[in-house]
């Protein structure tokens, strides 16, 4: 078991689109709580996960609370490592300008390398 002084590298991998299922939303809730524990957190957006960051989401019509703007709050929780998979953006016809927050767009190989450095990886 690790000692109290250890800082764990924990990566959250956002994989699902918002609204069609709750995984993205409850994933974000998990990240916000973990952010208070001063671990080494990163959040990676892969596949449909990138859609959670899409600008101009208006959920009024479906009657579900929107949460894309909450990603902007991550910075205030010192969660600053937001990485987006380049290929996932491109095949969806999206660019960085379509996203609500500043992210670092990375190649899959780089993200894959980051994954192997983690103590914990959780997919949402």
């Amino acid at each position: 078991m690790s000692e109290d002084t250890d800082i764990r590298k924990i990566m959250h991998v956002m994989r699902r689109a918002p609204h069609g299922s709750i995984y993205s939303y409850e994933g974000l809730e998990m990240i916000l709580i973990m952010a208070a524990y001063e671990q080494d957190l990163s959040v990676v957006f892969i596949g449909d996960g990138v859609y959670a960051l899409k600008k101009d989401q208006d959920t009024t019509g479906i009657g579900i609370k929107g949460f894309s703007k909450t990603f902007m709050a991550l910075d205030g929780y010192d969660v600053e490592k937001l990485f987006v998979d380049r290929a996932s953006l491109e095949e969806r016809g999206l660019t960085e300008d379509d996203l609500v927050v500043d992210v670092e767009v990375m190649e899959a190989s780089e993200i894959g390398r980051l994954m192997t450095e983690q103590d914990v990886v959780i997919h949402h």
Binding site: P18, G20, G47, G61, E91
Partner: protein
């Protein structure tokens, strides 16, 4: 027969499967995460254009709005829940889950 599709084509093969069974003239309606298929300029735009040669294609507007999809592939119609009911009045329904 109205075919509804509620899954993102990027993560699920449902849309492509449905297309194989589609009969000419039958309308397709994207709902929920299915509407991502209809976003203009994505990897599925050309498949949707092919489908539209024989089938009317719609996307549920509240689901488009919820996902920030402001531009859909040209020719894709948009309906609200009332329009969804209208399509159901005219057709039996095949919900591809």
């Amino acid at each position: 027969m109205l075919h509804t599709i509620n899954k993102s084509p990027f993560e699920s093969s449902t849309f492509e499967t449905c297309v194989r069974f589609l009969q000419p003239g039958d309308p397709v309606l994207f709902i929920e995460d299915g509407v991502y298929a209809a976003q203009a300029g994505n990897r599925f735009s050309s498949l949707i254009e092919t489908v539209m040669k024989n089938n009317p294609v719609f996307a549920l507007k509240p689901d488009l709005d919820a996902r920030g999809i402001t531009r859909v592939t040209e020719g894709v119609g948009s309906v609200d829940y009332e329009g969804f009911v209208g399509l159901v009045e005219e057709h039996q329904v095949n919900s591809w889950l």
